[in-house]
Each structure stands twice: as structure tokens, then as C-alpha cells.
């Protein structure tokens, strides 16, 4: 039984479909990254899971239990918000204590003044204070407990928000871009910490981000959502090397994959010299050829490959990105080269662009991945 399963969640706002039937399973102890471009409905999906919003249709199960009649507070789902959403008027310690106080103290015990006179509340409050300190120790924010959110840095607020979510030991953890407000260095550091915390607590986590590198580096499995559709859910290496859809291929990988228009003819794809055979039956017509930039080589002599020109070179230290344009078709192709390969290259020069045909991926007219015959992949590309 999955820790969390979604079945066909749909949601639209005023006629705009935001989620088009999202289904997803999070297994016990798993860390799933939900990644997609801004505005694709990630936060909306999390809100629906947490019970803060209602889906138009579809079902949510937590450990097999239907969540539709269960109120947000009783789902035992914790969430870290994009903006952290700390209570501005409470100190960090009080912020972390709120979920515990709401759960452990009775309605009358929570009242100001009167509540502090009721029997039994003192022990509960001591217990809460103890748990808050323990959580603060775990996240190394002991020294911040008396500060208000306005007096903390972004990274400190993020930790407090994390502590507030973790302190009640939820059965599911939702995080909505918790690192997007941090600077680049801190973000990489915090990534590691979140993964570490997850490993220790083992709470199944759905982690939302629009940063594909974050998703690939942190998650056990990555779910790619684009335009309200869940296009692929797989391990990071599968997402990168074997995308199921052209949008997935486009979204994952930096620099972006080269997409070159090509034609399908009688079961083969034709583009210049590349002619892989398709395993699936496809009507003759336009298809797309995808080749990752690291599988594009440039030949300065121009003796091999397709004739082209270098339009721009970007030096990134450990690698060089070359933006080229093919003479014949006018398509632009990006190559990712090691610095020593790029030593003789200058912007504006004519080069031969060598596309590794065995690494090409073919996508149908709707963007679905088309498999190509293994044999055809080995076929010599340039005649």
C-alpha cells in the first residue's frame, strides 16, 4: 500500500484547467520531487493534497484511507510553504510550538489567562517546550528561538518553517519550493540537509520545485508536470536519459536538449545523414529529433559532420557551450564541450557539427517518445 496515492485529480479555476487528471503514488519512505515550470499547478496540487483546497474530481488516499472527508488539520500532512508562512507576531520557538499546542491542549486550556489555571496544562506545556527544543537542536536553530521572523535571514526562516512542519511527526511531508528564496550557495547546502533529514526521519516526502537540477539531485524519483499533466514519473537518470515526452526532455538538462525537426518516412526518420528505423508505426510526416548537447561534437576542420557556423561561445569553466547554426537547414544546435575540445574554436568560424546518431531520441508530432530500433542506432550515420 502506498503512503500516498492520488487518482485522477482534476482542478480548474474559472474555466482554466490547471490539473488534468494527476495520478501519483508515493511509497513509504520515498522522496519524490515534483518538478515543472512556473505556473503549471504544483502549488495547487499540494494545496489539494493538504486539504486546503478541493479538487473538482479525483481521489486522495493516505495509507489506503480516503482523505476526502478528512479536514486539513486531521490529515496529519505537514507542509512547508514557498513563503514559509511563519506567524509574524510569534517568536521562532512559539511558531514551532503552535501545531503541538493545537494538538495537545484542549480548547479551554489554550485560552489566555484562564487556560493557564486549568489542571494538567502545565505538564503538557513542559512537554511541548521540550519537543520544541529537541527539534531546534536537530535543525541547529537553538539560538534563534527567541527571535521573530522579521529578525531572521531567509535561510533561518526556512529552517524554522521546516522545524514547525517536522515537529508534529507528520505521516506525509509536502514542501513547496522551500529553497527558492535562498541564495545559490545556501541552496546547495540546504539541499543536502533536507535529504539528510529525510533519510533520518523516513517520512514520505513530496518536494515541489521548478529547478530541475534540484529535483534530479535530491529525489528518489522525479515527477515531471507540465501544463497540468504528469508526463513522467521515474528515477532521475531515467528522466534524463530516457524521457518519455519531448517536454520532459526539454525541461530537464542544462543547456537544453537540441530539438531538430525531421521527417518520418516509411518507418524511418530522416534528417541529413541520420536515419534511424522506428519500432512503432508512425504516419509519414514531421517528427522531432532530440540530441543532448553533450552528444554534439564540433570538428574545426569541417571535414566531418554537417556544415555549420559557431554563433556564440560561452565559457563556463569546466565546460564550454557552443551555439551553432546548421547551414543547410538553419536549425540551431548547442554543443557542450570540454575546454580542451574548444581550444581552437572562435565565434563566427565554420565548423562541422557531428551529431551522435546512436544518442538521438525521436519524438512524435504530439511529443510522445518514439522508440527506435536498436540495430538502427548503430547504423553509420554519415554517408
Amino acid at each position: 500500500m502506498s503512503a500516498l496515492s492520488l487518482r485522477g485529480l482534476k482542478k480548474s479555476f474559472g474555466g482554466n484547467a490547471i490539473l488534468n487528471g494527476v495520478s501519483l503514488d508515493v511509497e513509504a519512505g520515498e522522496f519524490i520531487a515534483l518538478v515543472g515550470p512556473s505556473g503549471c499547478g504544483k502549488s495547487t496540487l499540494l494545496r489539494i493534497l493538504a486539504g486546503l483546497d478541493h479538487a473538482d474530481s479525483g481521489e486522495i488516499f493516505v495509507s489506503g484511507r480516503d482523505m476526502s472527508p478528512v479536514a486539513a488539520a486531521d490529515r496529519n500532512i505537514a507542509m512547508v510553504f514557498q513563503s514559509y508562512a511563519l506567524y509574524p507576531h510569534l517568536t521562532a520557538g512559539q511558531n514551532i510550538a503552535v501545531p503541538l499546542a493545537m494538538k495537545r491542549l484542549s480548547r479551554s486550556q489554550r485560552l489566555p489567562l484562564v487556560g493557564s489555571l486549568l489542571p494538567g496544562q502545565k505538564e503538557i506545556r513542559t512537554g511541548i517546550a521540550h519537543d520544541v527544543r529537541e527539534m531546534a537542536g536537530l535543525l541547529k536553530i537553538d539560538h534563534l528561538l527567541d527571535r521573530k521572523p522579521g529578525q531572521m535571514s531567509g535561510g533561518q526562516r526556512q529552517r524554522v518553517a521546516l522545524a514547525r512542519a517536522m515537529v508534529r511527526h507528520p505521516s506525509i511531508f509536502l514542501m513547496d519550493e522551500p529553497l527558492s528564496n535562498l541564495d545559490a550557495n545556501l541552496r546547495v547546502h540546504a539541499r543536502g540537509e533536507i535529504v539528510e533529514l529525510h533519510r533520518r526521519a523516513g517520512v514520505p516526502t513530496l518536494y515541489v520545485t521548478h529547478d530541475q537540477a534540484e529535483a534530479l539531485s535530491m529525489a528518489d524519483r522525479v515527477a515531471v508536470m507540465i501544463g497540468g499533466n504528469l508526463l513522467q514519473l521515474a528515477a532521475p537518470d531515467v528522466i534524463y536519459n530516457d524521457p518519455a515526452h519531448i517536454e520532459v526532455a526539454r525541461f530537464v538538462g542544462q543547456p537544453r536538449i537540441n530539438i531538430i525537426p525531421a521527417l518520418a518516412e516509411n518507418g524511418r526518420v530522416g534528417f541529413e545523414g541520420i536515419r534511424p528505423a522506428l519500432l512503432e508505426k508512425v504516419a509519414n510526416g514531421p517528427v522531432s529529433l532530440g540530441i543532448r548537447p553533450e552528444f554534439v561534437k564540433l570538428s574545426p576542420s569541417g571535414r566531418s559532420g554537417l556544415a555549420g557556423r559557431i554563433e556564440r561561445l560561452e565559457f563556463l569553466g569546466s565546460e564550454v557551450i557552443a551555439h551553432c547554426r546548421l547551414d543547410a537547414s538553419g536549425d540551431s544546435v548547442v554543443a557542450k564541450l570540454a575546454p580542451q575540445e574548444a581550444r581552437d574554436l572562435i565565434a563566427g568560424m565554420k565548423v562541422g557539427v557531428v551529431l551522435a546518431p546512436e544518442q538521438a531520441m525521436v519524438f512524435g508530432p504530439e511529443g510522445k517518445r518514439l522508440r527506435i530500433a536498436a540495430g538502427a542506432r548503430q547504423e553509420p550515420a554519415y554517408v
Partner: protein
């Protein structure tokens, strides 16, 4: 750099003139409160009293007018009105700003309409109703008509709309009920709006003469402006020195309260975007 640009001088002069025009009546009030009867009625207009008569005028005001009762009534009435307005308006504005329900649109229209209807339009029916309930000459009749302030709802609504939804979502996930959210999240964060509204409400009702004049006919329930009117009509006649002294006394609490809380008020007004 010892010549000041002409533009600046003109601007400064204009501003000073404007300030003087607005302040003139108050200055005159203070000056009159310190003059003797004969000094007031001389033909020459001077700001500085010929003989300082402040003490005598104030003594007269305190002796002839039940100042303590008036001020106490003012505090009770303004305090109760403000309290009920806030208690009613905050949950109402919260619901309209942040909850989705079918009547929200209709309520918005009603609030807008409410802003357009002045108390003068409903004064007569209200008077008749209070009379039938034998509630004339009571705090109830002074306070009740103002407990629901559409202006407060409108102002808080604007303020609450700007509060991040995620804060409320977090509160719901933490297990708070909607009333809990109002009490524990909205109210502690709404003080800038509440202080800004406090100025409008307290000033308006402290200075209000129209409504007390309608429902109150006994000194015991008179608010400060009404009390002054009785004083002028019955006792003082043309004793303007004492009258001005009394006026000064009832204006002072507001000025003092404002000066004491000035920082908060200004903060509140700038934070709610209410200026004017």
C-alpha cells in the same frame, strides 16, 4: 550657498499660510480661553490677553459644567463604539476577504451601499425605535447605531486582502479553526489597521453632536459636545472665555491621546495605505 532658491521660499510661504489658516481658529480658541469678558469684547483684535485669565476661566468651566461626567461619557461611548465596531468588523472583513462563499459578492455590494447611507437618513426611524423601547437617554442608544461600521469592514477588508493566503493555510494545517485564525493570526497582525481605524472612529464619535442631540436630553448622558451646548444655552450665555476654556478641556484628551500614540498611528496609516 547663502541664497535660498526662490521656488523654495514660495513653497514654504504657501505651506505656512495654509498651516496658519487651519491653525487660526485653534489659536484663537486658546487665546480667548485666557481673556476676561471685557477683553473679548474690545474692538481691537489681539491674540495676547491683556490680563491672563486662564485660571479663572477654567475654574468657571469646571464649576458650571459637570466636566468629569462629560469626559467620562465621552470615554465610555467612544470606547464601547470602537470596541463593538472592531469585534464585529474583523470577523466580517476576514470572511469577506479570505473565505469563499456564495453571498460574498452580495455582501460586498451591501457594504458599498452602506458606505453611501449617512446616519442622518436613518435617524428618524432609529429615534422612533429607541423611543418605543424606552432606551432614549441611555448608553445603548448612543452606542448601538454605530456598532456595525461599514467603513471599518471596508478598511479591514482591504488590509486583510493583502495578508498572504499561505499564512492562513499554515494556520489551518496547524489545526486552527476559522475563529481561531481570526483570534490568533488575524487580530495580532491587524493592529496597524485597527489603530488607523481608531483615529477615525474615536475622533468622529468624540466630536459627534448630531446623534447625541437626538437621543439624549439629560445631562447625565451628555457627551462632551452636547454638554458644551447645554452649558452655552443655559448658563454661560455670552461668557465666551469660560466656554472656550471648556472647549479646550474637551479637545485636549484627543490631542494628548494622539501625541502619545503618534508613532503607532502614523505607522498604521501608512501601512494601510490610508492617507488624506
Amino acid at each position: 550657498m547663502n541664497s535660498i532658491p526662490a521656488g523654495r521660499i514660495i513653497r514654504f510661504a504657501l505651506l505656512s499660510l495654509g498651516a496658519l489658516m487651519i491653525l487660526a481658529p485653534y489659536i484663537f480658541m486658546i487665546s480667548t480661553a485666557g481673556k476676561t469678558q471685557s477683553d473679548i469684547f474690545t474692538s481691537s483684535l489681539s491674540l495676547i490677553p491683556q490680563r491672563f485669565y486662564f485660571a479663572e476661566n477654567f475654574a468657571k468651566a469646571f464649576a458650571k459644567v459637570p466636566m468629569a461626567t462629560l469626559l467620562w461619557n465621552g470615554v465610555v461611548v467612544c470606547g464601547l463604539i470602537f470596541f463593538f465596531q472592531v469585534v464585529v468588523a474583523i470577523p466580517c472583513a476576514y470572511a469577506m476577504a479570505k473565505l469563499k462563499f456564495r453571498a460574498a459578492q452580495l455582501m460586498m455590494v451591501l457594504v458599498m451601499l452602506g458606505l453611501l447611507v449617512p446616519i442622518h437618513a436613518t435617524a428618524l426611524p432609529l429615534y422612533v425605535a429607541f423611543d418605543r423601547m424606552s432606551l432614549l437617554n441611555s448608553y445603548t442608544s448612543l452606542v448601538a447605531p454605530f456598532t456595525i461600521s461599514v467603513f471599518a469592514i471596508f478598511m479591514f477588508l482591504q488590509f486583510f486582502r493583502a495578508m498572504p493566503d499561505d499564512l492562513l493555510h499554515a494556520a489551518r494545517l496547524d489545526g486552527m479553526s476559522e475563529l481561531g485564525i481570526v483570534a490568533r493570526v488575524i487580530v495580532p497582525n491587524a493592529w496597524p489597521a485597527v489603530t488607523a481605524f481608531a483615529i477615525f472612529s474615536v475622533v468622529a464619535h468624540w466630536n459627534d453632536l448630531y446623534w447625541p442631540l437626538i437621543v439624549v436630553s439629560k445631562q447625565a448622558y451628555a457627551t462632551p459636545p452636547l454638554g458644551l451646548m447645554y452649558f452655552r444655552a443655559a448658563e454661560a450665555g455670552d461668557d465666551y472665555g469660560a466656554l472656550m476654556a471648556a472647549t479646550l478641556i474637551i479637545t485636549l484628551p484627543l490631542v494628548a491621546a494622539f501625541l502619545l500614540a503618534q508613532k503607532r498611528f502614523v505607522e498604521g496609516i501608512t501601512m494601510t495605505g490610508l492617507k488624506g
